[in-house]
Structure formats: C-alpha cells, structure tokens
Amino acid sequence: MRKSVFLGLAAAVMFGTSASADTLETVIKNDHVKCGVSTGLAGFSAADEKGDWQGIDVDVCRAVAAATLGDASKVKYTPLTAKERFTALQSGEIDILSRNTTWTLTRDASLGLNFAGVNYYDGQGFMVSDKLGVKSALELDGAAVCIQAGTTTELNLADYFKANNMEYKAVTYDTSDQTIKGFEAGRCDMLTSDQSQLYSLRIKLAKPDEAVVLPEVISKEPLGPVVRQGDDKWFNIVKWSLFAMVNAEEMGVTKANAKEMKDSKDPAIQRLMGGQGEKLGLSDDWSYNIVSQVGNYGESFEANVGSGSPLKIGRGLNALWSKGGLQYAPPIR
C-alpha cells in the first residue's frame, strides 16, 4: 500500500504534465468519488460488519458523491495511515481526503493542499490506565506515551511536556490500532490522541472501564476534508457540500422531511433545496440529494459519534453556532 502511494506520487510529479486535471470531470467519467479514509476509527471512518464504510468523515464523501453524481453510494474508499494520507491526495490517487485530519498552517501552505472546512472540532487529550490513579496530565512526568506517527499529536505532546518541564518517552506506531495494542500490552502509561479518537479507541480495549480519559485538552484540532490545491471548482464543491449539511440542520431540514421541505414557502429553504447548483457546475438538486441521502450535519453527528452510536460524544463545540457551538456555515444564496 505504502509503496504504491509513494510510487504514484513519484510517477505523477516526474512524468505528469503540469496542467491541473479537472477533478469533477474525472469523477463524472469514473462515476465514483475516490475518498481517502482512515484504516479504521469508529465513528469517523470504519467499515461495519457488512464491509460498508460508516462515520462522520465518510458522510462528507457520501455528500460529495450525492452532490456530483446524485448517488451517495458511488464512493470508492481507500484506507490510509496518517503517514500516507497527504501523498495519496497529492498523487491523485484519491479526490478527497476525509480522514480526521487537522487543519494547520504548514499543511495548508506547503503540501499543495486546501482544507475545505471543519466537520469536527476536536482537541488532543490523554488516556491512562485506571490503575495508575492519575487525575491530571501534570502528574505524568517520566511516563511512556503511545502515539501515532505523522500526526499533529506528536508535535503537541512535545510542546506540552516541554512547557510543563516534564520528561516523557514517545513510543511511535504507524496506525492507531497499534497504539491501542501497545497501550493495552502496557508498553506505555498513557495514550494520547484527539479526544474523539480516545473514546473510539477505548471501546476497542478488552476492558474499556479500566482506562480513563483525562480532562485536559492540550490543543485545538479542527478536523476537516482536504482537496488538492489548484482545482478551485472541486474545492468549492467539497466546501459547499459540507456547508449544505450544516445549513440543512440549521433550517431543520432532515433526511425524513427533505421531500416535503422541497415545497417549503421559506425562500432560504427553497434556495437550499434547489436552484443554486449551476454556479457550482452541478445539477440543481445537488443539495437535496445530499440531505435526502446522507442527512443533515446533526443527523450525521448523532448517528456516528453522538447519542445514536456507542461513542456517545456530546455535541460540545460541534453544536450549531445558534446553540452555543462553533458549527457555522455561510448562507446559500
């Protein structure tokens, strides 16, 4: 897998011509959206027992497929490790990277990529074994820490321990699955990752009750979908697919009532349910397809990571702006 990703990039930059390809055209020609996801992170992107991908990150890809191809199921998923993800996108192996990826300046500016918004506001936290009796991360001086390679987590951790004059030993693994195995085997005292991931990793433990997530959040981790730089049309489509989901929640349009809402008298809802597609280079029912097939942002959240899922994460920062959260989408007009 890794080799093919890097070879792909090598081939693309060595022999390819510099004309940037039109991603939308390619997607329509292939009749599917190529979406990079995680190797398995419950709630965000993980294959269920039937082999179908589920999760809040997966829903972004499904929304884009619904908007561009009119069918949310026309997505081809490529599971990627943290290390492989950007290379896969740069080389054109995938069209969207929707894989709990933190938006940072370096990534935005030097990788040739664009972040198309934030679908989950997260922060880095710590998980420790119950037996240690630790109440705060500040008591962890000298601890061994399991982390996933190639993440912002690695950098935040170094900063946090340095700022607090503490020592630690970083045990770095390739996948989040390996980090939880190392943690379970006692290779490290604590596991650090985005808080949402900690909850999702905790349910993988044989005895989830024996691990506690500490209250400290040591960083800002805005997670969102990423596209290649230089194809603004595609960038807009991904951006507005996400915004359409958030706007739909705000206006009370759900998967169930989408059909009735199509005849709504409210001009804002009318605009959401049709008429604006041409500007994006899409059909007029692009956003109707998203809401009717994938659902609005709130529905996606509750079903994948919220009350409808084993993770039971509260909306918190991810509530709509009107309800005290940060989810705020520009108007569709």
């Binding site: 890097f6 990039l9 090598a10 693309a12 930059v13 060595m14 022999f15 390819g16 011509t17 510099s18 940037s20 943290a82 290390k83 950007f86 290379t87 740069q90 370096t106 990534r107 030097s110 990788l111 040739g112 990529l113 962890l140 001086d141 000298g142 601890a143 061994a144 390679a149 190639g150 993440t151 690695e154 950098l155 951790l157 170094a158 900063d159 340095k162 630690y168 030993k169 970083a170 045990v171 770095t172 693994y173 390739d174 390996q178 195995k181 190392g182 085997a185 006692g186 290779r187 005292d189 290649r228 730089q229 230089g230």
Partner: protein
C-alpha cells in the same frame, strides 16, 4: 606478391567505420541520452511540484523538528532540526544492522555446524530450527516477538530481576551502565597495548614455528595480554569504575542503560531469520570440502580439532563468504521493517514522521534510498575485499 600484399593490408578505415570509434560513439550517445532524460525528469518534477504548490528543496533540514524520538544514540530533543532526525534514524538503522549481522553470523555458524552433528538430537533440533524460521515471513516473526513476547512480560512494578541490577519488563531490558572514574584511562591504554602486543606475539610465534617447528600457545597468551593486562592495571589503579544501577521510579526505571523492547524484538527476529539462512550456507560450505582432505589431514598426524581449524574451515570459508554477502544485504534492507513495530529507524523516523510533518516526499525518499544504497554497497565492498583475501591463492 608485394602488390597482392598491399591489396590485403587494410588501410586505415574512415573514422565512421572504425569499430573502436563506432563503439565509443554509441556509448557517448547513450550517456548523453540518459543525461538528457535525467535532466528532463528532475526539471519536470520541480515544475510539477511548483505548479501544485508543494514546497521543494532541502531547507527543511534546518527547521525545528518539534517531536521526540524513543531511542537516540546522539542527544536529541524536540528542539533539534529535521536534519538531526535523519542522523538519529540513520544511526538507529546502523545499530540494528550491525548487531543483527554479528548475532546472525554467530547463531548461524552454531546452527549450521549443529545440523552436521553426529548427535541425532542436536542435528534434528537444528533442522527444525532452520526449517521453521526460514519458512515464516519475517514481518510475522517481528510481530510475534513484539506483541506476543511483550504481552508475556511483567509490568514495570513486578519486573523480573537478577541480583537487583538487571531488570526485564514490558518497557524493555534495564542493565547497569558503567561509570568510569579517574584513572580509568590507564586501563583503556593497557587494553590497546594488549591488543598490539598480541599481534606482535602472533607474528613472532608464527615466524618461530616456520623456522624451528616449535609451537607456541598463541591463543592463551593473547587472551592474557588482551584481558589480563588491563585487569591488572585496573586493580592496581584502584578499580576506578562504578555501576549506575537502574532504580524503579514512579513510572519507569531511572539510571542504568535501557534496551527498548522494539530493539530487542527486531534484533531477535532479524537475527533468527537470517541465521536460519546462514546456517544452510555454512552447512553447504563444510560439505563442499571433500572428505579426502580430512583423511589426508588425519594421516599426516593432525588432531581432529586441528583438522577442522586448519584444513576444513579455511576451505569451507571460500564457499561460504560469497552467499553470506547477500544475507548481510538482506538483513540490512529487512531492518526497514522496524517501522511496523515502532523501532525508530530511518524509515520510521525520517521517511515516516519527518516526511509527514514536512510533506517533502521526493527529497526525503531520495535521501532514504541513498542511505540504503550506500549501506548495501559498503557491505558489498567489504565482503568482496574479505572474499579476495580468503580466496585460494594459486602459486
């Protein structure tokens, strides 16, 4: 007659028909073609990366890395540069390669000889060892040693210990580390002198044996010179050496030297896997020496031990060394599987974390490939030199 000869003697052909120049011409053409191709590739790569907004160049090597590395042979912290991560990864790769080669060679020789043993049990055990470890993929063996063994180990609090100074637990192996005091330098000097003296003594003993036929106990004298002399000096200077013992703290042991389980698991897996191949090479080398040689040696009065040491092994070595080179190369390259269990080698640290933090895939992968190429060529060159030294010198 003279006219006939004149007709047959080929005059100097025109330059385009001269086979020598012709060959040269096509070779130059090929080199130019290759050069142009390379320049095109490099330029096209740079232009494409520029067009896609991907940063290029090696300036990132001087930037602050901002992450930590589990094991480092040189001082390293999050404040060190990305360039330093390259050095740390490279040294860790060299460490595992060197340790692996030494261990695999020793183990391989023992198993290889054991398989030829007349003792049925020993021979069969060696066969089982070889057939098992040679036929299971290395990656699976690495995972086995790491996860299965890791889980079998006790936690830091109930470590296995020997004499309260050696500890083994899930965090690795802790051994006392020596702390040298004043005057330890004399012991070091004595050690160096001992080695030089041993070499001189060996040459003297050999010359004397050629001249008079008298033998000298070279091995025991050398042992005495190399280890006895420094020991004597060490005691005379007042034993200037203390041991820093590992002590259990809140989470981990402090003090002493720690060998991380990732290194242990990788080393065990790599050496056992390669040793299985080396054992077969050693066996084939020994079997390649015809039995007549042994019979001849015994008939001139050599003891079986001398026969093995002076007749069989030197001849077997000629068969053994060339295929050993490729085993060593395999081991060096296989060490990159370290990334699977988080041992911080160059692939894991530099091609992994550093690549991901900077996104400069082309530069970093090129540098990593250059490292493995250099490492492999160095091993090759050394082994070729050794092979030439051991080869049959025909007089």
């Amino acid at each position: 007659m003279s006219t006939q000869q004149k007709g047959l003697t080929p005059g100097k052909p025109p330059i385009w028909n001269d086979p020598h120049y012709r060959a040269l011409f096509f070779q130059v053409l090929l080199i130019i073609g290759l050069g142009v191709f390379l320049v095109y590739i490099v330029n096209n790569t740079l232009a494409n990366m520029e067009a896609r907004g991907i940063s290029t160049g090696f300036a990132f090597l001087n930037e602050r890395s901002g992450f930590d590395i589990l094991q480092s042979l040189v001082p390293f912290s999050a404040d060190s540069t990305y360039g330093k991560t390259f050095i740390v990864g490279l040294l860790n790769t060299l460490l595992i390669t060197a340790l692996g080669i030494i261990l695999a060679t020793i183990l391989g020789f023992i198993i290889g000889v054991a398989r030829l043993s007349k003792n049925w049990l020993i021979a069969k055990l060696a066969t089982i060892f070889i057939e098992t470890f040679r036929n299971i993929p290395l990656l699976i063996q690495i995972f086995f040693w790491y996860f299965v063994v890791l889980r079998a180990m006790p936690s830091a609090r109930d470590s296995l210990s020997i004499a309260d100074s050696f500890f083994l637990n899930v965090r690795g192996m802790y051994i006392p580390s020596p702390v040298t005091g004043d005057g330890f330098i004399f012991t070091t000097i004595a050690f160096v002198i001992g080695i030089i003296a041993a070499f001189i003594m060996r040459r003297w003993a050999r010359n004397r044996q050629f001249a008079t036929g008298e033998q000298f106990p070279v091995f025991w004298t050398a042992l005495g010179l190399i280890f006895g002399l420094p020991l004597l000096v060490f005691v005379l200077t007042g034993s200037p050496l203390t041991w820093d013992l590992p002590v259990l703290e809140r989470f981990n042991f402090a003090g002493g030297t720690r060998i991380i389980p990732e290194l242990l698991a990788l080393l065990i897996a790599l050496s056992i896997y390669t040793a299985a191949f080396i054992a077969e090479i050693v066996r084939s080398g020994i079997l390649a020496v015809s039995h007549g040689q042994t019979e001849a040696a015994l008939s001139v009065g050599l003891t079986p031990n001398q026969n093995l040491r002076l007749v069989v092994i030197p001849q077997a070595m000629r068969v053994i060394i060339p295929p050993m080179t490729s085993q060593y190369l395999n081991l060096a390259k296989n060490s990159s599987l370290a990334t699977a269990i988080g041992y911080p080698d160059i692939v894991s640290v530099f091609m992994g974390t550093t690549l991901n933090q900077t996104g400069q895939a082309v530069e970093i992968i090129a540098m990593t490939m250059a490292v493995y190429l250099t490492l492999s060529l160095t091993i090759s060159v050394f082994m070729n030199w050794y092979n030439a030294k051991m080869a049959l010198v025909e007089r």
